[in-house]
Symmetry: C2
Subunit: 340 residues, 2 copies
């Protein structure tokens, strides 16, 4: 960082020499690959297959550093996971930074280094990017957009729409819920809570790949991010000719997450995760998929948490531990702002 | 907008019911197409050719509405143009909104409608999107990221890198410079300047396409956005074995732009454009490309403004109207913050 001042200046977003140096000395250095090295207006990429998945996400998490991750890890994992849950193999990412004037260069560098580590793990390349700087007080430290392209095999095209879902399909999740949301909440300066909660933020491409290898009857996948498991399930049921039945006693919620949720009045099924995928699998393949997931670091606590039913079409509900039933609806207001 | 409150709430970014309604009633309604309608985590798209161009840009312009356009038009045109100058045919876009809590719904709607008009003109589809809302004072009204994918014919792959540039190539620009930057500056609340300057913000895909049809010897293209014509030229010359020679008397600068630049101390060659492409064309094809450009609404004032030389390799310079020479360097600080 020989030419870089300690903080980001408006000039870093001007397209002039400061922008150029920032790109060369920080982004291009850490994200280096043959395509990015061209530094042209668009990345030129080989056609990655007969069908593709294309996705975008902006990240505005507050705080930008939290136990278990940071905004950079979130930006890579979020986009990699959006592609992976569509049944695609993530290949190329773009990153767009919006940075507040005065943001510490070393914090930006730390985020970029995290991102560089994550893309290596995920086997993806950042091939194009953009940096804007806004005046002090006009954004909050840094926001990151990442868009991504993945290769999609024709046999997996139905996964993102869920068009093959059938009554009897089992619902699997790869571990505990609510960790990311509560880790971020605990890290907020205005809450004086000390909880040993780590965000579950992780790239799930390899976990998902091994499930796809274990079964060709994976009917649907979605990562349970903003809005949590509850929102995925409620959205999935809406307007469909099937119902969704979850078993509360099968959900894994850590003591820390449960305690914080009680304290703050949150329902853990609506709390964001950043390393959890909800999978619907044909009943006869559920055990083999479960076994495949459990072999992975991000899947050791995978569990079957429910099933698709013919009852109550269009509705999702959870059978509580005391034997009651509770409808899972979409949240009408905010749950946790700026959780990702 | 039957279910929408007058202003954007934090809950619009929660992933819950408010988010869902905003997507359905605003974004999906105006951007509607077969792919977006799936509303899955990733858009599933057909492979658009053997090679692709992929690009991203974030837009943070201040003010968001200005004479000749708004942030939405900018977001579509910017990404369409980045693809087009790579020699690609723009096909699919993503859009990511970051919205400040309290932003007027009608302003968001106005921006979305502009975007919908622009994508229709450009023949592209918005296939995937994301919305985040941040608390009041943590961003400035609205920021938009747009990423895009275009089909790239193998014969145009060299255009973005400029690897075929040769001494003698002519440099063409499709009209006056500095209009966008000065239109935005004039629109800023804190400047009490009334100038009749319109931003040149426009999608250039069809203008560029007709140039590509007129000649198979287009050697390089770039849109002269942030940092203006000067930055494009300075970046292009850097480290190359050729020099770039511009003629000041060939540059078109409107009276309004010239006046504002003098008043504010800006050099118009570094002022942002949003509808100008710099083209390098083999000398023998320069006239036919010029003729093709002039037939377009966005190209009526196209001019040859310089040429590639064997002199002064790695340098760009401009011959001034009084016969002097001035080196064009990359700007070291900021020129105009938040101009796009």
């Amino acid at each position: 960082m020989k030419n870089q001042p300690d903080t980001i200046l408006l000039g870093h977003g001007s397209g002039g020499k400061l922008s150029h140096d920032l790109i060369t000395e920080l982004f291009a250095r850490h994200f280096d690959n043959d395509i990015l090295r061209q530094q042209s207006d668009s990345a030129i990429i080989e056609n990655p297959g007969s069908q593709m998945a294309f996705t975008t996400d902006s990240f505005v998490v507050d705080p930008i550093f939290f136990p278990g991750g940071d905004i950079g890890k979130l930006a890579i994992a979020g986009t990699v996971n959006d592609l992976a849950v569509s049944g695609a193999i993530p290949k190329y990412l773009s990153v767009g930074f919006i940075i507040e004037e005065g943001f510490a260069y070393k914090d930006l560098e730390r985020i970029v280094i995290t991102m560089a580590k994550e893309i290596k793990k995920a086997g993806v390349k950042i091939v194009t990017g953009d940096t804007k700087v806004v005046d002090r007080g006009k954004c909050d430290k840094v926001f990151i957009n990442s868009s991504g392209i993945g290769i999609l095999d024709k046999k997996n095209v139905h996964i993102s729409s869920g068009s093959h879902i059938k009554a009897g399909d089992k619902i699997i999740i790869n571990g505990s819920i609510g960790d990311h949301g509560m880790a971020v909440m605990a890290a907020r300066n205005d809450l004086n809570i000390s909880a040993d909660i780590l965000s579950d933020c992780a790239c799930l491409h390899d976990l998902i790949q091994s499930a796809l290898e274990a079964s060709d009857q994976i009917r649907f996948m979605r990562d349970a991010t903003r809005g949590g498991l509850g929102t995925v399930i409620a959205e999935l049921a809406k307007g469909k000719d099937f119902g969704i039945h979850l078993h509360e006693d099968q959900l894994i919620i850590s003591e820390g997450v449960r305690g914080m949720c009680e304290l703050l009045g949150f329902d853990p099924i609506y709390v964001a995760n950043e390393g959890k995928v909800v999978m619907l699998v044909a009943a006869e393949d559920a055990q083999s998929v479960l076994a495949a997931l459990k072999k992975h670091k991000s899947g050791t606590n995978s569990t079957i948490i429910g099933e698709i039913t013919n009852d109550h079409p269009g509705k999702a509900w959870i059978e509580t531990q005391v034997g009651g039933k509770r409808i899972i609806e979409m949240l009408s207001g905010q749950q946790l702002p700026r959780i990702c």
